[in-house]
């Protein structure tokens, strides 16, 4: 269930469940489009935010759906900025090492790719431990 979401104030709040990943992507691509930016690039931003929320659901909320994730977008000075806030366990995705895909396959494991993708697709990925909340800031430069 969507708690609240309003494109007009550039903010979406979801429960910490993968059920809502499609809402997250739709919110990002619509926000991106409302600024008139190239749709192909918007899909990459939506994928990055999907990866960020998937990480938060898994690592900050341990797959329990009673938490909340707030996503706020803004665009200024040739930057598209997404701020993602949660109240789960502290989890700094920048601490995740780059994946060894061949090695993980040998162990029959998936996973560990989300952060790497985010870093490849976005220009900045910043994590802030704000005490009771975590904030992840994803920035895409606009040319």
């Amino acid at each position: 269930m969507k708690l609240k979401g309003n494109i007009a104030n550039n903010e979406l709040m979801i429960r910490s469940s993968t059920d809502h990943l499609s809402d997250v992507r739709e919110f990002i691509t619509s926000s991106w489009a409302s600024y008139g930016y190239d749709a192909k690039e918007g899909i990459k931003v939506a994928l990055s935010v999907d990866e960020a929320c998937t990480n938060i659901i898994k690592h900050a909320y341990h797959n329990v759906a009673d938490g909340t994730i707030k996503i706020k977008v803004d665009s200024k000075k040739n930057k598209f900025i997404v701020r993602i806030t949660d109240k789960g366990s502290h989890f700094d995705p920048n601490q995740v090492p780059d994946p060894d895909i061949a090695g993980r396959q040998k162990k029959r494991k998936g996973g560990g790719l989300g952060m790497f993708l985010m870093k490849k697709l976005m220009d900045e990925v910043q994590y802030k431990d704000k005490g009771k909340t975590n904030e992840l800031i994803l920035v895409k430069y606009l040319n």
Binding site: T18, D19, L21, S22, D23, R25, K40, I43, L47, D50, E51, T54, I57, K58, P99, I101, A102, R104, Q105, K106, R108, K109, G110, G111, G112, L113, G114, F116, L117, K120, L121
Partner: protein, 114 residues
């Protein structure tokens, strides 16, 4: 909103998994189930046909990583066909073309198993 469909069919001892829609952390377990069913039936030669798949996140890619070794161990493999450019680009960004074979169409992938 769940917008993902997965099904499998057989052709010349090769199993073809058709994926359609959006493959993310929410829908990836459905693809895992499909692989589990094939392993149960000892079908290890798999072509995944991506015609109709609009979107993939790393959770989807993780499914192939988790199953490919089992297939290869049994003289099979997971091969990919009919990927849209946006979807292929994600595989490419993560270096999958070094580890998997990609084909423009399903028939070419099936032939590689012979």
């Amino acid at each position: 909103m769940v917008d993902f469909k997965v099904s499998s069919r057989g052709q010349d001892q090769v199993s073809i998994i058709d994926v359609k829609g959006y493959l993310d952390a929410h829908t990836a377990p459905e693809l895992e189930n499909e692989f589990n069913k094939l392993i149960e039936k000892e079908q290890f030669k798999v072509v995944v046909n991506f015609d109709g798949l609009n979107y993939i996140s790393s959770a989807g890619l993780g499914v192939f990583m988790a199953y490919v070794e089992t297939m290869r161990e049994h003289e099979g493999d997971i091969k990919f066909s009919n990927l849209k450019e946006d979807v292929y680009n994600i595989f490419d960004l993560l270096g999958f073309p070094v580890l998997y074979e990609f084909f423009d169409n399903e028939e070419d992938a099936i032939v590689k198993f012979k």
